[in-house]
């Protein structure tokens, strides 16, 4: 009798852990209110970006007549102009092309490097792992000047290939470090069985380890892709002609003129440049988070 009534009480109470110690009113002030304020401030710039992108010109700067936080006559004029009357699609393509190639290149190199560090454990593997971590800590801001002269002497100046080869210096250390963690978690016994069956190391890597490490590969891919898309200083330094530029560089250099109504097209450009990443992110949130935290946890 008492047992069942206790159970009933437990079932009614959906709170977890020590939540019973808190009242709703105190949660409102200590949790929901600050959380709400932070969320609004984190999101406001995007809201403002998106809103500006769809505002008609006459409402863009006229705060007195129309409430600026909303628009009554949304227009796709700015976005249309961007997509059909500028070189924006070309820049979008450049960015995508560079990001995909650089990411693929880095993932292949990182998979091999990470596997050999974790599983082949050749002489000096520990040291190499350490060096790769240090490479992670070298920021582009101190490399772009010498790299510019390297790129120039290799004859790669103003070519997307320059970015495809240089971006992996940012991506490989990160992905290798992330994948090392994933590979370590795969039971070694599986590989031993395959070795006994006469599989080569390459077969083990492609047939056993990689299929098991797919979540890690997706994480590394998504995160690397985002980093490429975001990269600015190398693209700014190494590319000079208009039709080779990536989105961040192109928008900053081409859209920033003296026109007082430029904000509409500028924000449309920023919005369209962010959307692909946000959509990708929406599908792979968990992978993204694990990439970010995984590389830090090691």
């Amino acid at each position: 009798m008492t047992d069942t009534s206790l159970k009933a009480v437990n079932n009614d109470d959906h709170s977890v852990g020590m939540d019973y110690l808190e009242k709703l009113s105190s949660r409102l002030v200590t949790l929901y209110l600050p959380l709400g304020i932070i969320m609004v401030s984190l999101l406001f710039p995007f809201y403002w970006m998106a809103l500006t992108a769809i505002k008609p010109d006459d409402q863009l700067l006229d705060f007195a007549r129309v409430n600026p936080f909303w628009t009554t006559a949304p227009t796709f004029k700015h976005i249309y102009k961007l997509l059909f009357e500028s070189q924006y699609p070309l820049w979008l393509w450049n960015t995508m092309y560079v990001a995909v190639c650089a990411t693929m290149l880095s993932i292949i190199a990182s998979v091999m490097a990470a596997y050999s560090i974790v599983r082949l454990r050749y002489k000096g593997a520990q040291l190499v792992g350490m060096l790769i971590f240090l490479a992670y800590l070298v920021p582009p801001s101190i490399l772009f000047i010498p790299l510019a002269s390297v790129i120039y002497s290799y004859g790669l100046f103003d070519s997307p290939l320059a970015l495809i080869l240089v971006y992996p210096t940012i991506l490989i250390p990160f992905s290798t470090w992330l994948l090392m963690g994933y590979f370590k978690s795969i039971p070694y016994e599986l590989e031993e069985c395959a070795l006994i069956d006469g599989a080569t190391r390459w077969q083990i890597l492609t047939r056993i380890v990689l299929p098991l490490a797919i979540p890690g590969l997706i994480s590394a891919f998504i995160f690397s892709f985002t980093l490429c898309w975001n990269e600015f200083i190398y693209a700014l330094t190494f590319l000079s002609s208009n039709e080779n530029k990536t989105i961040p560089v192109a928008i900053v250099n081409e859209f920033v003129d003296g026109d007082i109504y430029r904000w509409g097209s500028l924000m449309a450009g920023a919005l369209m440049g962010s959307l692909p990443l946000v959509i990708l992110y929406a599908f792979f949130v968990e992978h993204y988070v694990s990439a970010m935290t995984g590389a830090v946890k090691e």
């Binding site: 101190i142 006469g198 975001n230 970010m292 830090v296 946890k297």
Partner: protein
């Protein structure tokens, strides 16, 4: 598969000495070498070599399109008397210190909030990360628009609320410009700190909190004596990255102020870009970039020290 492998294995047994080719494809060290090749080639050609080249360039008077000659420490001597360079060091240190401290405080606070039981937690967490996903340059453009001299939405709102009579000149005067770029940097950095710290928080066992609550610990005591010590290692790593990326920041400044007004927001990275790429004096720019290295090493050392101290404490407390 195994039927094929068996005769192969027999064959191998029959040959006592492995041939040179076999050694190249089966020896652990050689295999390691082959596997490392792609990554090593890229990292050596485009990271290690340029790193040394950069230090070398800083000792020469190289200009764009003209090879330089070795001039020793002349670049550094010249820079040490250059008030703009000295100001850029000051700006960079100020920018990094203020932004990192606030990012840490806000990030930790946000992580603690998200670690509570919140409805729609997964969605809330994904929204928090959005500022980190969107390319910095593009969100910086949004900030540029928000900071507009005439049509800033912040100025307008404050005026509507009656708190202000005139527009705020966000990027026009040195003090405001510094505050504005720091706020934009904090906005961009908080999600990273918060989400990584949240991952750390989630590994702390709830039973520790329950035990502490039973012992009558207050919320602050729980944070100070349980959460914080267990979180120290991850804090050290996260803050190293945060400091590193803030110190070498370029994009945000370049979009918002390009170093102005009167060089008040020039960071070392933006100054080196201006001198080396726009001004063509590669040697001098390389010297500015090289001057960042000691600061970076210092930041890394501090965080490693933080990590080690933690390990030592753990050893003392747990064993």
């Amino acid at each position: 598969m195994s039927e094929q492998a068996l005769p192969m294995a027999r064959q191998r047994l029959a040959i006592a000495e492995p041939t040179a080719w076999e050694r190249l494809v089966t020896n652990r060290n050689w295999l390691g070498f082959w596997f490392m090749m792609p990554a090593a080639a890229i990292l050596i050609l485009f990271l290690a070599y340029p790193l040394f080249l950069g230090v070398w360039l800083s000792f020469t008077d190289t200009r764009i399109g003209r090879d330089g000659v070795f001039i020793g420490l002349e670049n550094y001597e010249w820079l040490s008397e250059d008030s703009i360079f000295l100001q850029s060091i000051f700006n960079t240190v100020l920018y990094t210190a203020v932004a990192s401290i606030v990012k840490f405080a806000l990030g930790l606070y946000l992580a603690l909030l998200l670690n509570e039981r919140v409805p729609f937690k997964a969605i809330v967490r994904s929204i928090v990360l959005i500022p980190f996903i969107v390319p910095t340059v593009l969100s910086a453009l949004a900030f540029w628009w928000i900071y507009d001299t005439q049509f800033s939405i912040i100025s307008w709102s404050l005026k509507q609320l009656g708190l202000l009579d005139t527009n705020i000149d966000f990027l026009g005067n040195p003090f405001n410009a510094r505050v504005s770029v720091i706020i934009a940097n904090i906005w961009r950095g908080v999600p990273f700190v918060a989400i990584t710290l949240l991952a750390g928080l989630q590994t702390v066992s709830p039973s520790l909190y329950e035990a502490a609550t039973l012992d009558g610990a207050t919320r602050w005591q729980i944070f100070r004596y349980i959460t914080y010590p267990l979180l120290t290692p991850i804090i050290a790593v996260v803050m190293t990255f945060s400091v590193l990326f803030t110190f070498t920041d370029f994009q945000l400044i370049w979009v918002l102020t390009r170093g102005g007004p009167v060089n008040a927001t020039h960071l070392m990275a933006t100054l080196s870009y201006q001198r080396a790429i726009l001004g063509g004096r590669l040697g001098e720019g390389a010297a500015i970039a090289t001057a960042m290295i000691p600061f970076l090493i210092l930041a890394i050392m501090v965080s490693f020290y933080g990590l080690q101290k933690r390990k030592w404490q753990q050893g003392e407390n747990n064993d």
